[in-house]
């Protein structure tokens, strides 16, 4: 279809919106409620444009183009209308940019600036600013909410939870949980995807920045930090680097300069997770195939705390299917305060463990009451990628000018299999790299060890693999077709569980709560779209391929920890420190 936008000719397929056609012509139209690929509802009216022959201005995010259409995006009428829309929003907006979590990272702020709003002529009644800090992961502030409904759509359609919904009507409309409850009192899984898409400061992470600075300054605390795989592929964006810039070395250098005493890598315990979870899978398969005993299959991965809470709430009948392995974050805390503290001659009560995570649900996970197997709270504080970015600024560090530095030993050593925990399909691939070799003594038969059918942003990915050439110990698996599935975003988790309930058979299913996996986590730099997801995933694969060791069981420090401390996978010490239990939760 041919049309002109500001007299520039464009040709786009039928069904394209004016907004998308304008983007193709290099024209930016401001938006607030629109969220590419997720929500187009024409609610906020910031994207108004003039169409020749139309009486009223139209919302370009929902209006499809028509043959010969003449669109104007920058007339006086358009500018004034948009400005009025935003002034109305601002007149009801109870915010103060200087002290706001979103200062300099706020879509309302930048839209207002771009429209040249210097004065608010309307005097509206401010929204009710009720701050809900009831959950460990998130803080909501209704006074800043512009009712764009992005969070509602993400929570309902992408995550299949539906914890947030518009209530009441007209001026009294608020976006929030049922019965005006606090978020902690409803079945929110703490994934933070709402905070990831909120254009303003109405939903943000519960900040741990102050407590971490306090620990760093504390004279007798040894502050140990771990960095999750997905952080290295996104932190650079906080400092203006293009998506997909790997900043592993600079991140380590920054952490050292900030005053962290020991810099370790969650990758280490990701490798450890693969050993434990892989052996757990083989144990389940042995029970089912060799011993013909009943056992819960498929095994579901358990690294993603939002998914765990989702399963506990909505599918408690599948709790026996969840791997009993703690997530790499929690394994790290338990190991740091036992094995490492002893080795380093530290009293674990003075060891303070901080995690840097792409995730806000990790804040929830860290405070689950059972996460104290080291004899202490295993993880003391959790920072998101965004919070780390902010702390680096607070410390006055010129991030981009930093040299690359290395992690400390020994919980800083890892393989490429650990890196790919960051993206959808990665945990499965890492597990297969090890499990296949344990069963057959051979390398996984894929180029670069990448299980391509399980990679990419497709919501549900499946693969079937016939096991042949088994080692004698696993001969009972000869000829068995191993069926696996990989899903990301909880809506897809729900779909695969419904399939399983309807009789579909899988042996192993990887679930990541966030779209794209951890690289698209609720704590990553905003705004994550599919382009960014792809770039970050590419970066992660590059990190993996760049490593000498690509399989978790080849990690020499993993061999060492089993030799010196854990003894054997699924053994007594492992069971105590690295595995956990789940609880059934009420659905509200």
């Amino acid at each position: 279809m041919k049309l002109t936008i500001n007299a520039i000719s464009v040709e786009v397929p039928e069904g394209t919106t004016i907004l998308a056609a304008a983007a193709q012509a290099g024209i930016k139209i401001p938006t607030l409620c629109h969220l590419e690929g997720v929500q187009s509802i024409g609610a906020c009216r910031v994207c108004l444009v003039e169409v020749e022959g139309a009486k009223t201005l139209v919302a370009s995010c929902v209006m499809p183009v028509m043959e010969g259409m003449k669109v104007y995006t920058n007339t006086k009428r358009v500018r004034e209308a948009r400005r009025m829309v935003v002034e109305m929003l601002l007149s009801e907006h109870d915010g103060n940019c200087q002290t706001c979590n979103r200062n300099n990272d706020c879509e309302l702020q930048s839209v207002a600036f771009d429209l040249g709003i210097t004065d608010i002529t309307y005097q509206g009644v401010k929204g009710r600013n009720e701050v809900d800090a009831s959950t460990p992961a998130l803080v909501r502030d209704n006074g800043k909410c512009i009712k764009c409904r992005r969070c509602v759509t993400v929570c309902t359609q992408v995550q299949a939870v539906g914890a947030l919904f518009p209530q009441f009507r007209g001026f009294k409309t608020v976006i929030g949980p049922a019965f005006n409850s606090d978020l902690a009192d409803v079945s929110c899984v703490q994934c933070g995807q709402c905070a990831a898409v909120c254009p303003v400061g109405a939903i943000v992470e519960n900040s741990h920045i102050e407590r971490v600075w306090a620990a760093i300054e504390h004279p007798s605390k040894t502050v140990v930090v771990q960095t999750a795989p997905a952080v290295r592929a996104a932190l650079g964006e906080c400092f203006g680097n293009p998506p997909g810039t790997l900043v592993t070395g600079k991140m380590v250098a920054a952490l050292r300069r900030m005053g962290f005493d020991v810099i370790f890598d969650t990758n280490f315990t990701a490798d450890l997770t693969i050993i434990e979870e892989g052996m757990e899978l083989l144990k389940r398969l042995t029970t089912a195939v060799r011993d013909k005993q009943p056992v819960a299959l498929p095994q579901f991965t358990s690294c993603s705390p939002g998914w765990i809470k989702f399963a506990e709430t909505y599918y408690p009948e599948f709790i026996p299917n969840l791997s009993t392995c703690k997530s790499p974050q929690q394994m790290f805390g338990a190991i740091a305060k036992t094995y490492w503290a002893k080795k380093a001659g530290k009293d674990p009560k003075n060891v303070y463990v901080v995690s840097i995570m792409p995730c806000v649900a990790k804040k929830f996970e860290a405070q689950r009451p059972e996460m104290d197997d080291s004899g202490f709270v295993d993880i003391d504080a959790v920072l998101t990628t965004r919070e780390l970015g902010r702390m680096i600024r607070q410390a006055g560090i010129d991030f981009n000018a930093l040299p690359d530095e290395d992690y400390d030993r020994i919980l800083g050593t890892s393989t490429g299999a650990a890196d790919i925990f960051a993206n959808t399909g990665g945990v499965m691939e890492a597990a297969l790299r090890t499990a296949y070799e344990v069963i057959t003594g051979r390398n996984l038969p894929f180029e670069e060890l990448h299980v391509t059918p399980l990679a990419g942003l497709e919501g549900i990915k499946k693969a079937a693999m016939t096991i042949t050439g088994t080692l004698p110990e696993y001969s009972f698996l000869e000829g068995v077709v191993l069926k696996v599935a990989v899903v990301h975003a909880l809506g897809n988790a729900k779909r695969i569980i419904e399939e399983i309930k309807n009789g579909e058979i899988y042996h192993f299913v990887e679930v990541m709560t966030c779209p794209g996996g951890c690289i698209g986590g609720g704590g990553q730099p905003r705004l994550t779209d599919n382009e960014k997801r792809k770039k970050r995933i590419e970066a992660i694969y590059k990190e993996d391929e760049g490593k000498k060791l690509r399989k978790s069981h080849d990690n020499p420090k993993i061999k060492q920890i089993y030799g010196e401390f854990l003894n054997m996978p699924l053994g007594k010490t492992s069971h105590h420190l690295l595995h956990t239990e789940y609880i059934k939760r009420e659905r509200v």
Binding site: T156, G162, F165, Q167, G176, A178, V186, R587
Partner: protein, 162 residues
């Protein structure tokens, strides 16, 4: 609060009957109406129950229930009381009448007296401007009402009800 089992089974039957309906939004409204008819208002437990039964997030049920004025979220007394706040009534002192009622019943708009007899409701103009100011109790209209008269009427009704 435990919901009455017979009423719940009636609600179940109603949901089963309408389960095939495709427009789920109007279907939710119909089910909430049924619940209100059964329980007199929409108790939180009923909304929870419906959410589970229909497999819809509770927040969505709550969103629908709060969107429409015809749903009561709190128990309603035997006699709904309201004072017209249209311009004619307002000018003729409806606000004073309302204040007197609030004081007498010790409740504000949307609330129900402890004995469950009166619920004070919000009203817009009811079109009886000739009688302004106007108070309504149930379907009955009291015109030319004064604060004193209003209190007397309510006291009388309370006596008759107990």
């Amino acid at each position: 609060m435990n919901l009455d089992a017979t009423k719940l089974s009636e609600l179940d039957a109603f949901m089963a009957e309408t389960a095939h309906k495709t427009n789920s939004h109007s279907y939710v409204i119909a089910v909430l109406h049924k619940a209100q008819q059964l329980f007199g208002y929409l108790p939180r437990e009923a909304m929870d129950y419906i959410a589970h039964a229909m497999n819809i997030p509770t927040a969505h049920i709550w969103g629908v229930a709060t969107f429409y004025h015809f749903f009561n979220l709190k128990p309603v007394g035997k006699h709904p009381v309201s004072v017209c706040m249209g311009t004619a009534c307002y000018v003729k002192g409806a606000k004073l009448v309302l204040d007197a009622i609030k004081e007498e019943l010790r409740i504000t708009i949307g609330e129900t007296t402890e004995d469950g007899i009166f619920t004070l409701q919000e009203t817009r103009c009811i079109g009886a401007c000739g009688l302004a100011p106007v108070m309504m109790v149930g379907d009955k209209i009291y015109g030319d009402i004064t604060p004193k008269k209003a209190v007397k009427v309510l006291a009388q009704i309370r006596k008759e009800t107990v």
